[in-house]
Amino acid sequence: MTVKWIGKRTLMGVGTLLIVSFLSFFIMHAAPGDSAIAFYGGDAQTLNTAEKERISRVFALDRPLISQYGAWLKETVKGNLGFSYKEGRPVATILLERLPNTLMLFGVTLVFIISGSLWLGISAGMKPGSLLDKSISTISVMSSAVPPFWVGILFIAFFSVKLGILPSSGSGDIGGNGGLVDKLRHLIMPAMVIIITHVGIYARFLQESVKVESQNYYVTVARANGVKEKTIRHGIVRNALIPYLNYLGMTIPSFFGGSIIIESLFSWSGLGQLMVKSVTMKDFPLLMGGILLTGVIVIVSLLIIDFIMYVLNPKLRRGGVQ
């Protein structure tokens, strides 16, 4: 049953990826603007019609869209993501350079956001009306009401310029060979900013669902019959996690969108920055590769989340009708 479920979900994931590629390909191409100009970036002013046509021809941008997509898909299925227009290097190489950084930032922030929000959300939700409960609901809203880039600039001004204890940009020391400690030092600030501005909302969400779950009849019944508090809490958390995970799954993609700004502020060379750049330059092969890669990351995360939900929710596992 479980194996079958995973198989089915994986297949669906592949289908989703296909839709993602199709959509992004057409959205990007349908987007107004001339790819030849975009291609020239800062030199765009020194570009005339003849040049534009020439560039379009070189990159086969003058072929019909559907055949371009077909060609792209064929290459991609073969495991070849093509060459970046701008850099001329294989897309896969470029992406792989960025991937570790992105996974690191994504992974670290996600781990802290999840563990932080679990801890805060559960402890606050279990004591409705307590000081902790009230302060978490207020502080979480407050923390999520400050724009992340503001927090970032303040952090730089304080930790880098004033105290001089943390490097303000980059994903590794420029002179060194990029050891792990060095990497982590660079990671602290961008990760902190994302965590601080996000953890509140998730904690809040969990807190709410813990509270709602605690109001359930079965909790009252268990309490009234002297069931151990530990057992009761265990059951509540288990059920409260389901909507929480659902929400987490729904918002994971926005991590990539949201982190773009943080990445550019801290010059953290991740996929988000790369994608923004490739959109503005209309570097389609790179962009498609980037979207596909984030797509894989997102879909794998969703798969993991769905799997946890599947384990937590016997209704899904038993294939019963709701």
Partner: protein, 270 residues
């Protein structure tokens, strides 16, 4: 009881902000675009209550006028995303089956592409006015609403009163609106309010990327965008005030959304 007091308090705050921005024309001492190269970076004081910015424009006037823009962008984009989300999620949830599966995969796919990327791709639409900005934010932010509406519809669809309605021959439109939509309102309301806060952020974020509303139109977003340069110079007032207003507005919306969610609004079947 207590929560309703909170509701009233934040409701008043929010309406104050809205009223202030609506009547910005009468309240602001200068025209929001009036530039004065002799009065650049003036700290808050006599002539300019909240100081001036890098083009010598009055921060207070821009703040009021900008609020209008930001709130219009946020408000109408939320409205748009609400309409799309309700329709999409409603259809998907109500019809179910293979159509639902396909629609949900499609939605998942859209969810996977960071919306900022889509917005960047379509920034051409932003040319000109704030409505196109609202449009573009709206069209990229309906996904959560759609998911929520869908799950609400799926939940409600199985309830007996909906089954009864089908048996009573109630027309489908009435089932959709009268039974399903009307009972999803609490849930939709909450996501919509959070969506409002999100839209303000999106406006700010786009401002940060330099692709927000046109530069001659003031908005909290592009004020904040410029203000990041001003921090270094020490012109704290340019960023502080829009920052505070965004903060308070989002806070107000959050608490209102919350207040409406938590009281005993739960249905008897819940």
């Amino acid at each position: 009881m207590k929560s309703s007091k909170v509701l009233v308090f934040w409701g008043i705050i929010l309406s104050l902000i809205i009223i202030m921005t609506i009547f910005s024309q009468f309240l602001s001492p200068y025209s929001p675009n009036e530039m004065n190269m002799d009065a650049i970076y003036q700290p808050p004081g006599q002539d300019h209550l909240l100081g001036t910015d890098h083009l010598g424009r009055d921060v207070e006037s821009r703040l009021l006028e900008g609020g209008k823009v930001t709130l219009i962008v946020a408000g109408s984009s939320v409205l748009l995303s609400l309409v799309i989300g309700v329709l999409y999620g409603g259809i998907s949830g109500y019809i179910g089956g293979i159509i639902d599966t396909v629609m949900m995969r499609f939605l998942e796919a859209l969810l996977t592409i960071p919306s900022l990327i889509i917005i960047l791709a379509f920034q051409m639409f932003m040319k000109g006015d704030i409505w196109s900005m609202a449009f573009i934010i709206g069209i990229t932010s309906w996904l959560t609403t759609a998911r929520i509406v869908r799950s609400e519809f799926i939940r409600l669809k199985d309830l007996e009163f909906v089954k009864m309605a089908k048996m009573l021959g109630t027309p489908i439109v009435r089932i959709l609106f009268g039974h399903l939509l009307r009972n999803s309102i609490p849930a939709i309301f909450v996501v919509t309010l959070f969506g409002f806060a999100n839209a303000i952020f999106m406006e700010v974020t786009l401002g940060f990327l330099g692709i927000g509303v046109p530069p001659e139109i003031p908005s909290w977003g592009n004020m904040l965008y410029h203000a990041q340069n001003d921090i270094l110079i020490g012109a704290w007032w340019i960023g502080l005030f829009p920052g505070i207003l965004i903060f308070i507005t989002i806070l107000a919306i959050n608490f209102i959304g919350d207040g409406l969610k938590s009281p005993k609004r739960r249905r008897l079947d819940a």
